[in-house]
C-alpha cells in the first residue's frame, strides 16, 4: 500500500524502496519503502523495536541493507558509501542520546561541525575566517548558547546538550537532517522551544524526526509515518494516522 508512485525517485531527496536488513536472523527492517521530498519535514513514530534507529543507521551508512534501494537526491546510491562520505553529501544526524564532545568548548563543538573540507591537511592548517566566525556566532545565538560559548560541553545540562547537537547539525548545513528523539528527557518548556527550533530549521532543510512524544509531534504539525516491525504501517496527517485501527492496536492503544 505504500509503494512509491512512479517518478518518485527523481523528484525525491531521499528514496527507500524494498529495504530489508536482518541481524542474526532477526528482521529489523522488512521491505521498508519511504520517500522524502526536498524541503519536507516528516515525523516517524513506532513502538520500540519498530526499526526507527536501524532505518537511520541505513541512511547514514552505519548499517548496510541486505536488499533494497537507498537513493539520495535521485542519483546517489547511499548503500555504496561510508559514514563520512554520506555526511559530506549533506546528511546530518542527531543521536537519541545527545553526543557532543565533552572536552571541547561549546564553540569548538560548533567549529568541528561547521561545513568545511574535512581533509587532514585542511584541518591541520585551518584558520577560522570572518564569515565562518559569524556563522558560528549566529548558530550559537539560534540555539541560545552564545553566553556559554567558552564552557566545556560536558558541563551542559541534558536539554542544552540536545540543543548544542542541533546547533552542530545546523553548522553542518546538511540537505537532510535526521533527528532522533530531540525532546527526550526535556522539560515541557524545553520541548516546546525545541519544536519551534525544528520548525525554523525545516524552513530551509529537509528533516526526519523520530519521536515518541505525541504532543511534540502535534506541535510540529507535519506528515507522520508509522513504523511497525520494520515496515510502514500507516502514513498521513497525525489525526488520520491516529484514527487508523491498526495503528491504535499496535501502538497508540498501549
Amino acid at each position: 500500500m505504500n509503494a512509491p508512485v512512479p517518478g518518485a525517485l527523481t523528484s525525491s531527496l531521499l528514496y527507500l524502496d524494498g529495504v530489508s536488513v536482518s541481524f542474526d536472523g532477526f528482521k529489523a527492517i522488512r521491505g521498508l519503502s519511504l520517500t522524502i521530498a526536498p524541503g519536507e519535514m516528516r515525523a516517524i513514530i513506532g513502538p520500540n523495536g519498530a526499526g526507527k534507529t536501524t532505518m537511520m543507521d541505513i541512511i547514514t551508512g552505519k548499517t548496510k541493507p541486505d536488499v533494497g534501494t537507498v537513493m539520495f537526491g535521485g542519483t546517489v546510491d547511499l548503500t555504496k558509501l561510508d559514514e563520512a562520505a554520506i555526511a559530506n553529501l549533506g546528511i546530518g544526524r542527531k543521536f537519541q542520546k545527545p553526543t557532543v564532545f565533552d572536552f571541547h568548548t561549546i564553540e569548538d563543538n560548533i567549529l568541528l561541525a561547521l561545513k568545511s573540507k574535512r581533509t587532514v591537511g585542511k584541518t591541520l592548517f585551518w584558520k577560522t575566517e570572518g564569515p565562518q566566525q559569524k556563522r558560528i556566532d549566529d548558530i550559537l545565538g539560534i540555539v541560545k548558547l552564545a553566553d556559554k560559548r567558552d564552557r566545556l560541553a560536558g558541563s551542559l545540562s541534558h536539554g542544552q546538550k540536545q540543543w548544542l547537537e542541533i546547533g552542530m547539525l545546523l553548522a553542518q548545513d546538511p540537505k537532510l537532517l535526521l533527528v532522533d528523539e530531540p525532546a527526550a528527557g526535556m522539560t515541557d518548556g524545553e520541548t516546546a522551544q525545541t519544536a519551534v527550533l525544528l520548525k525554523e530549521i525545516a524552513q530551509d532543510h529537509s528533516v526526519i524526526v523520530v519521536e515518541h512524544d505525541m504532543g511534540f509531534i502535534r506541535e510540529l504539525g507535519v506528515k507522520v509515518t508509522v513504523l511497525h516491525e520494520g515496515s510502514v504501517l500507516a502514513e498521513g496527517p497525525l489525526d488520520q494516522v491516529s484514527a487508523n485501527e491498526r495503528v491504535v492496536e499496535v501502538y497508540l492503544g498501549r
Binding site: A87, V100, F101, L112, A113, F125
Partner: protein, 379 residues
C-alpha cells in the same frame, strides 16, 4: 605558515617548558666544558650523558602522549619505533668504524665478519652517509607506523585489541632482531661505536654536543606536537578520542586522522631513539622488549596524560627515580616501586603530576584576592 603553525596560541606552560629545555641545551654543555671540575656548578660528563638519556625518553613520552593522550590510541609498542630509529643511527655509527674494528674489515662490521659474510647486505647500503641514515631514522619507523596503522585503523581496530597488536608488533620485532641472520648483530646488537660525523663519540665535546642536540630536538618535537594538538586537526583528534562514531558522522575520515598522528608520533619516537644510541653507546634487541613500551605508558600517565609537558616531566621524573633506586640498597625493589607508583597515580592523581600541580596552583591563586595579607606567589 610553518612559524604560525608552530607558535599559534602560545601559552605559559609551553613557554616555560621551552625556556627550560633550551636553557639546558645552552647551560649544561657550557658548564661541563668551561667550568673547572671542582666547581659547584660544574656538570660532570656522566651526569650530562645520563640526563641526555632522560631527555630522549622525554621525547619518546611526548610522541606517545600525542597518540594516547590526545587520540586515545593506547600504543603498547612505541618502543619499537624508538628502537628502529636507534638501529638506523647504530648502522650509521657501525659504518663509521671502518677498518678500526677487531677484524679490521673496512666494509663489514665485526659481527658480519664473524658470521663469515662476504658482502654487505643490501639494507645496509647507504648507511655510511649521515644524511641517508637520518632520513631512515624518520622513514623506517614512519613507514612501519603508516602500514601498520593503515590496516589497523581502516579495519576499525580500537581499544584493547589495538593495544594488543601493537604489543605483538614490538614483540615480533624483538624476536626478529634477536636472530643473527637478520644482519643486525643478533642479541649483541650494535656497539663499539667510534665516530659520529668525524668526532669521537666518547669525547667530552661530542657528548656535550649530543646533549644540546637532544634538547633542541626535544623542543622541536614538543613544538610540532603542540602545533598539531592546538590546531583544528588537534580538536578533531580529541573528538575522535571522546566520541569516535560521532566524529565519523560529522564527515571526518577517522582512520586518516589517526594514521596521521600515529605516523608523526612514530617518526618522533624514531628521532628519540637515534639520539639515545650514541649517548648510551649501544643498541640491542632488548629495546624492543614489550616491557619498555609499557614503561613509557607509565611515564606518560605519571606525568599527566594529554598535556605533552607532563609526559616529558613524567619520563624524566620516573627515570631519575629509577637511577636513584637501582643504584642503592633498594635496587631489588625498583619494579615494585614502579608498579606502586603507577597504582598511586591512577588512583589518586588521575591527571598526573602536572595536572595535579596545576590544579593546586589554581586553587592557591584564587583565594589570593580575598585575604590581602598573603603575599602574591613569586612568578
Amino acid at each position: 605558515m610553518i612559524t604560525r603553525f608552530l607558535l599559534q596560541n602560545m601559552d605559559r606552560r609551553a613557554g616555560v617548558f621551552l625556556a627550560i629545555v633550551l636553557g639546558l641545551a645552552l647551560l649544561v654543555p657550557l658548564s661541563n666544558l668551561l667550568l673547572p671540575a671542582g666547581s659547584f656548578l660544574h656538570v660532570p660528563t656522566s651526569t650530562m650523558s645520563l640526563w641526555g638519556k632522560y631527555l630522549c625518553y622525554a621525547l619518546l613520552a611526548i610522541s606517545l602522549d600525542l597518540v594516547w593522550g590526545y587520540c586515545g590510541i593506547l600504543s603498547l609498542g612505541h618502543g619499537a619505533f624508538f628502537a628502529l630509529g636507534g638501529y638506523a643511527m647504530g648502522m650509521y655509527l657501525m659504518r663509521q668504524i671502518g677498518s678500526r674494528g677487531v677484524y679490521g674489515n673496512p666494509i663489514l662490521p665485526d659481527f658480519m665478519v664473524f658470521l663469515n659474510w662476504q658482502e654487505l647486505p643490501w639494507y645496509w647500503w647507504g648507511f655510511s652517509s649521515f644524511p641517508f641514515a637520518m632520513l631512515m631514522v624518520l622513514l623506517v619507523p614512519g613507514l612501519l607506523a603508516f602500514v601498520f596503522g593503515w590496516f589497523a585503523f581502516r579495519s576499525r581496530v580500537t581499544g584493547v585489541y589495538l593495544s594488543i597488536i601493537t604489543q605483538a608488533l614490538t614483540y615480533a620485532l624483538l624476536l626478529a632482531f634477536f636472530r643473527n641472520d637478520m644482519g643486525f648483530g643478533g642479541n649483541n646488537g650494535l656497539t663499539d661505536f667510534k665516530d659520529i660525523l668525524g668526532f669521537n663519540v666518547q669525547a667530552q665535546g661530542t657528548r656535550a654536543a649530543l646533549f644540546s642536540m637532544t634538547c633542541v630536538m626535544l623542543a622541536a618535537g614538543f613544538l610540532i606536537a603542540r602545533g598539531i594538538v592546538v590546531s583544528k586537526l588537534g580538536k578533531v583528534v580529541i573528538a575522535i578520542r571522546d566520541a569516535e562514531s560521532r566524529t565519523r558522522f560529522l564527515g571526518y575520515r577517522v582512520d586518516r586522522f589517526k594514521l596521521f598522528v600515529f605516523t608523526v608520533s612514530a617518526c618522533m619516537a624514531g628521532v628519540a631513539g637515534a639520539l639515545y644510541v650514541p649517548q648510551v653507546g649501544i643498541i640491542n634487541p632488548s629495546e624492543f622488549a614489550p616491557a619498555n613500551s609499557i614503561e613509557t605508558v607509565i611515564w606518560v600517565a605519571v606525568g599527566g596524560r594529554g598535556t605533552l609537558v607532563g609526559a616529558a616531566l613524567g619520563a624524566v621524573v620516573v627515570n631519575w627515580a629509577k637511577t636513584v633506586f637501582t643504584s642503592g640498597f633498594m635496587a631489588p625493589y625498583w619494579l615494585f616501586a614502579l608498579g606502586g607508583l603507577f597504582v598511586v597515580v591512577t588512583l589518586f592523581l588521575p591527571k598526573g603530576i602536572l595536572g595535579t600541580a596545576e590544579a593546586l596552583w589554581a586553587r592557591r591563586r584564587k583565594p589570593e584576592v580575598a585575604p590581602a595579607a598573603e603575599p602574591a606567589p613569586a612568578e
